[in-house]
């Protein structure tokens, strides 16, 4: 398991009411009603995006929105997995509320890891979601929070 080393915990995360924001425990442990944890292996991303689509379908998302969320979660995972520390876990938490789903995907990273936002993939991700942001306040973990409304505008 990924236990943050004490000397690396001096950078505290910003805590807000946003479900995507990391609390004082850091990004690794972000409590959500549904969480999927898999090895940070590209071969397991199809399973994670399938869970996202299933949750959206059960939350009565329209079919385009289900498709969009599946793609957005795939994109988030595809961006994060290559940055994960060896042997690390990809964790995706899902919060269903008020006609929307929030997804918080993250991986344990080395300090210098950054997520590029000038890629085609990131553009696709922001196009498909109502909100998308990089969660980089935790030095040990890097994540993406995305939000999708049940109905496309």
């Amino acid at each position: 398991m990924q236990t943050p080393e004490p000397q690396q915990r001096d950078r505290t995360s910003t805590a807000t009411s946003d479900p995507g924001a990391a609390g004082s425990a850091g990004l690794a442990e972000t409590p959500t009603p549904v969480e999927v944890r898999v090895h940070a292996d590209p071969a397991l991303i199809p399973s994670v995006r399938a869970v996202a689509a299933d949750l959206a379908a059960r939350a009565d998302f329209d079919l385009d929105a289900v498709s969009d969320l599946r793609m957005a979660v795939d994109e988030a995972c595809s961006a994060l997995v290559p940055l994960a520390r060896e042997g690390g876990q990809l964790r995706c938490g899902f919060v269903m509320s008020e006609g929307r789903i929030d997804v918080i995907c993250r991986v344990p990273v080395r300090h210098e890891a950054t997520l590029r936002q000038d890629t085609f993939g990131w553009r696709v991700l922001t196009t498909l979601t109502d909100d998308a942001e990089v969660l980089d306040a935790d030095p040990e973990w890097l994540g993406i929070h995305l939000r999708k409304q049940r109905l496309n505008p």
Binding site: I45, P46, L63, S67, D68, R70, M71, E75, T127, L128
Partner: protein, 121 residues
């Protein structure tokens, strides 16, 4: 003639190439994502290098199209224009049409409802 004999049964994307009368048809079945795009890119480039008159990508059995797949389609379109190959997509279902539509790419491509229609132009 290229076939799918280098793909294992567990492969999440089946790729089958048929060539006849100067046209190439690549039939795809399964998921086009970060995992499967590299092998597909190699197949598409191989067909484009053969300079067929028409290259048809039959995507009727595609169940997922991620951004890596969309990027590949855009690359293939650019390359097909460089080589004077008519690139035509066969797609009529949500797993392909929605990603194209949501990313504003639909109008870039020549879309057909069937392989026959795509070959006929």
């Amino acid at each position: 003639m290229a076939t799918d004999d280098d793909l294992t049964a567990e492969d999440p994307l089946g790729v089958d190439v048929q060539r006849s009368n100067g046209a190439s048809v690549i039939r795809l079945a399964g998921e086009i994502d970060m995992l499967t795009t590299p092998a597909l890119r190699a197949k598409v480039n191989e067909e484009l290098q053969g300079k067929p008159t028409v290259l048809v990508l039959d995507m009727l059995s595609v169940e997922f199209l991620g951004s890596s797949g969309l990027a590949l389609l855009v690359e293939a379109l650019d390359e097909s224009r460089n080589r004077d190959v008519a690139l035509r997509l066969v797609a009529n279902s949500r797993p392909v049409s929605r990603p194209l539509q949501a990313t504003g790419l639909t109008d870039l491509f020549a879309l057909y409802p069937s392989v026959e229609a795509a070959l006929a132009g």
